[in-house]
Symmetry: C2
C-alpha cells in the first residue's frame, strides 16, 4: 500500500520519505491500516520554498479575500463534517457526541469564522496614527508560520485547522502544518477542505501546506530555518523546550503552550455551602476528555476539614463509579502510568485508581491521589509534575498560611480557580491567596472549573513560564491571538498614496478601529 | 579613595566588590578619577530580593502614584540639569549644545512624563471586556525588570532614566538598572534624583536600584535568575546574543536592540532634483553624534550615475572638511578601526578617512567607503557588518535589478529610507523595491534620514532579527513600549468587587480606553 500523500505547494504529492507510521485506534487498541510518510528534509525544503513565495504573494492579497478563504474553509468542514468526525473518532476515541460532532467541530468553524471577521475588520492591526508628525504604524504579516498541534484536540487545535492556524492565516501568513501523528487521517481530510477553499477563493495554493511527521533532527532544522517567520506549538514541555531553543537560536518568535496543572482551590465556606455540587463539578471537569485537556484540574487545594474529606470521598466514589474512557494512545497511557508512579514516589497516596484497566483500548483507572501540604512543600517540584490524563492530586493544608506557602511555590500555569462562599465567609481567605495565585496564572477563575476555554476577545489561554514561553500572549481569543504572527511596521513621512489602506488619512476600511492621536475611532 | 556606592533597597551603600573601574574623559583621552565598583553576586542577590518585595508592594500601589513618581523624577532631573549635563559631557564628550542640554535631556524628561501620563490614563492595559460571558482581561506588571542601557545615550536610553526604564516603571514594575560603564557618574546622579522622587512620592524605595558593573558570569546569572520578570538591553550584537540565550534558557522575556546599519536608498530622480541638499542631509545624519546612533545610516544604496558620483563626492568633501568629533571611548575607536579594516578586507574601498586622528581624545577620521553591487552581492555578510561610529559604506548598483538583489540580502534593520523624486519619476522604482525593504525594517522612511526617533505612539524603534529579538515590539513609543513589561491577566467569572478597577463594569478611571464587546470606548 502506498503511503498517504503530503500537501505541498497546492498539490497532494508523494512524500520524500523512506519511513512510514500508522495511527492507532485507541478504543480498540489496534493500529489503523493507512501508512503515513515520515518526510525527509526534502519535503520541508519544498514546503519552505513554496511558503516563502506564498508569503510574498499574500502581502498583496486584500484582507477580504483572506477572510473569504477562512469562511470558505469553515463551510467546507461543515459540509464534510460526518466524514471528518468519523475519522477523528476512529483515531482519538473521543466521543462523537457530546464532543467531536457537537462541541469541537462547531467550535473550530466558529474560530475560523471569528478569524475571518477579524481579517475583514482589520482592527487587529492596531492602526496607530500620529497625524502631527506624520508617523503611522500597523501590524503586518510576519512570514511563513509553522504550526504544530497537540494530540488532544483533533480539530480545534489541529495545526491545519485550529486556533493557531486561524490566527496565522488571518494575519496574512501562509501556514506549514505538521499534523499530529495520532490523528493524521483527520488532518488529511481537513487539509483537503483547506485546499479546496484556497482553490475556490483564489489564494496562493501554498497558503496551506501539511506534512505528517519528520525526524527529530529535521524538526529542529525546520525550527531554525531563517525562512520561518514564527512558530506555534502545543504539546509537552520536553518537546517544547527543544523547539524553543532551536527557534530562539536564530531569533524566530516561537509561541509554546507546554504544560499546566491548573490548581483549583476550594475555600472552606464554599464546601460548607455546596460541597456536593462541587464534587460533581470537579469530577466532570477532571474526567472530561479523560482528563486530556491543557486546562484539566490536576491539582486540588483544600483546607483540612470534614467537608473537605466529604468532597474528596465523593470525588473518589465518582471516579470509581464512572467507567475509564479510552486514552488517546498507548504512549499516553504509559506516560500517565509513569506519572502516577512518580507522584507516589514523591509521597502522594492513592485514594482511588492508579492502575491500568483492561481493554478494549488504552484505559487507565480514574485516579485520585492525595498528599498533605507538608509533603507538597517538601517536594514541590516532583508533586507539580503534569500527569496528562484522568489523574488528579488533592493536597490538604492545615491552615491558610500553609495554603499560601503552596501557592507561592507553584510554577506558571494557564489557569487557577478559587471557589469561595457566596455568603462572604471566605472573603478574607480569598484576599490572602488571590494575589499570589493571580501572578502565577494566565486566567483566574471564580467558582468555575477551568476546562471550558471560550473563544472570546477577553480570553487568555496563556500564562507564565513554563505553561507558555511568554506571559503576554494568548493562543485563544481573537484578535489578540492574531498579533503573535505579525511584525510592527512603522511608516515615517511616507507619502499618502504609498501607505497601507488602514493607516491612510482616510481609512480604506470603515469598519477598522484605529488609534488616531491617542483616541480610538472607527470609520 | 573609596569607590562610589551602589543604590540597593533605597540606600546608597558600599558595594560587595573587590574590583573597581574608572570612566574615561573621551575628549581628553584620560581616565576620570572616581572609582566605581564591580559588584559581586552578593549585590545582585540583595537587589533581586529587594526588587521582588517591591514588585509585590507595587501591585497594590495606585497607578496615579506611579505616575507621580515619574513626573517627580522628571522634575528633579530638570532641577539638577546643569550638574547632570556636565557629568555626561565629561564622560561622553557629546556636545552640551545642541545635544545633551537642549535635545537629549528634554527628550528624556518628556519620555518620563509621557510614561507618567500613560500610567495615569491606564489605556496601555488594553482592558478588554466580554460582558456576555463575563470574561475580562488586562495587562498587569510582569515583575522586576533588569535594564541595561547602551553607551551612546547617557540620558534617553540610560538604564536608570531612559525609555525602557520609563516603560517598565509605568507598567508597575521595579527596575534594577545596570549603569553603562562609560557614564557611571551620570548614572549615579540620575539615580539619586530617582531615589529622591521615590521618597517624595512614597513608592517602595527598591522600585529603582542601580549597580555599575558585574562580571560576565554574574551578568549571565542575573539574566537567568527566576525572580527577574523581564529584561531590556540595548547594545552590541555579541553581548546581546549571550544575554538572550541566558534569559531564554529560563523562559524570561528579553527585549534586545542589537545592531542596525539603516540602509538609505537614493533613487535617481531624487538625486537629479535635489542632489546637493541630499548630500548635506546625509552628511549631517552620518556624523550626528559621531555616527554613534542606533539609527545612523551606515549603508547608502544608489544607482550608478553622474548624479550619484556628484553626491558621493560632496559627502566625501564634507566628511573631510568637518572635524572628527571625539568618540565615546578608546574601545569604541578600536572597534571602529577594526570595522573599517574588515570592510576593506571584504572589498570596500576608501573614499575618504579610514585612519585614527590625533587627539586630544579618541578621534577617528570621518570615513566614507565605497563598494560595487557586485562586491556586495558576493560578500553580503561581511559588507553588512555594523561599524559603529563615523563611517559609512556607499554601494552603487548598475541597474534596478541589482539594487533589488542587494535589498533582498539585507538582514533585519531598525530603519530603511527611500528618497524619491517629488515629480513622480521614481515611482516605478519605488514600487519595485519598497515591498522588499519594508519587511526587512521596523520603520520605513520617505525622503527623511533615520537618525531622528520621535517619541510618538506610532513610532517603531524595533525591527526584524537581528536588529532586535522580536519584530512585534518597539522600545520607543508610548504606550506600545510599556506592554513589553506586562503579563496578560484574564478574569473568568470573577466577582465584580474583586476585579481590577479598569475591568469592572464601571471603570474606576474615566480616562481609560477600553474594548467592550468589540468597541473601543472611553469613560
Amino acid at each position: 500500500m502506498d503511503a498517504a500523500q503530503v500537501l505541498i505547494a497546492g498539490e497532494w504529492r508523494k512524500a520524500n520519505s523512506k519511513k512510514t507510521f500508522q495511527a492507532e485506534n485507541p478504543a480498540a487498541g489496534q493500529p489503523l491500516p493507512t501508512l503515513f510518510p515520515i518526510s525527509e528534509w526534502a519535503d520541508c525544503e519544498l514546503a519552505l520554498a513554496a511558503a516563502s513565495k506564498a508569503a510574498e504573494e499574500l502581502r498583496r492579497v486584500e484582507p477580504k479575500r483572506v477572510a473569504a478563504f477562512l469562511d470558505g474553509y469553515a463551510h467546507n468542514i461543515e459540509s464534510s463534517a460526518a466524514q471528518i468526525v468519523e475519522a477523528a473518532h476512529e483515531e482519538t476515541a473521543l466521543p462523537v457526541s457530546p464532543r467531536l460532532k457537537d462541541v469541537e467541530l462547531p467550535r473550530t468553524v466558529n474560530q475560523l469564522r471569528q478569524a475571518a471577521a477579524a481579517a475583514r475588520e482589520e482592527s487587529w492591526k492596531r492602526a496607530t496614527l500620529d497625524t502631527k508628525l506624520n508617523i503611522r504604524s500597523c501590524f503586518a504579516p510576519i512570514g511563513p508560520v509553522v504550526v504544530l498541534g497537540p494530540n488532544n484536540f483533533p480539530f480545534a487545535f489541529n495545526g491545519v485547522s485550529g486556533g493557531d492556524f486561524a490566527a496565522a492565516i488571518a494575519a496574512g501568513n501562509p501556514v506549514i502544518a505538521k499534523a499530529h501523528p495520532l490523528h493524521p487521517n483527520t488532518s488529511r481530510l481537513l487539509a483537503e477542505e483547506a485546499r479546496k477553499a484556497l482553490s475556490e477563493t483564489g489564494l496562493p495554493m501554498a497558503t496551506v501546506q501539511m506534512i505528517y511527521q519528520v525526524s527529530n533532527e529535521d524538526g529542529l532544522r525546520l525550527m531554525s530555518d531563517p525562512r520561518v517567520g514564527a512558530i506555534a506549538f502545543t504539546g509537552s514541555r520536553n518537546v517544547g523546550l527543544q523547539l524553543k531553543q532551536a527557534a530562539e537560536s536564530v531569533g524566530t518568535p516561537i509561541y509554546l503552550e507546554m504544560s499546566s496543572i491548573n490548581p483549583v482551590i476550594f475555600l472552606p465556606g464554599a464546601l460548607e455551602e455546596r460541597g456536593d455540587q462541587l464534587a460533581t463539578e470537579l469530577t466532570d471537569s477532571c474526567l472530561a476528555g479523560s482528563g486530556q485537556f491543557c486546562t484539566s484540574p490536576n491539582l486540588i487545594l483544600l483546607m483540612e476539614s470534614d467537608q473537605a474529606e466529604s468532597l474528596l470521598q465523593k470525588v473518589a466514589d465518582a471516579f470509581k463509579e464512572r467507567p475509564a474512557q479510552p486514552l488517546l494512545s498507548s504512549g499516553g497511557r504509559k506516560h500517565l502510568s509513569e506519572g502516577v508512579a512518580a507522584l507516589r514516589e514523591a509521597g502522594a497516596q492513592l485514594a482511588v485508581g492508579g492502575e491500568v484497566v483492561d481493554g478494549p483500548g488504552y484505559r487507565y483507572a480514574n485516579t485520585l491521589l492525595r498528599a498533605t501540604a507538608k509533603q507538597f512543600l517538601s517536594s514541590p517540584h516532583a508533586l507539580q509534575r503534569e500527569v496528562f490524563g484522568n489523574a488528579t492530586l488533592a493536597v490538604t493544608a492545615t491552615d491558610a498560611a500553609e495554603l499560601l506557602d503552596i501557592i507561592q511555590l507553584l510554577e506558571g500555569n494557564l489557569t487557577g480557580s478559587i471557589y469561595s462562599a457566596r455568603s462572604g465567609s471566605d472573603d478574607v481567605g480569598y484576599e490572602q491567596i488571590a494575589p499570589a495565585l493571580r501572578r502565577r496564572v494566565g486566567r483566574l477563575l471564580n467558582d468555575k472549573m477551568p476546562t471550558g476555554v471560550a473563544v472570546s476577545p477577553a480570553m487568555n489561554h496563556g500564562g507564565p513560564y513554563p505553561s507558555t514561553s511568554h506571559p503576554g500572549f494568548t493562543a485563544v481569543g481573537i484578535p489578540a491571538s492574531i498579533v503573535r504572527f505579525a511584525a510592527l511596521h512603522c511608516y515615517d513621512g511616507v507619502r499618502q498614496e504609498r501607505l497601507p489602506g488602514v493607516i491612510k488619512d482616510k481609512s480604506s476600511n470603515p469598519a477598522t478601529w484605529r488609534s488616531i492621536d491617542g483616541a480610538w475611532v472607527q470609520g
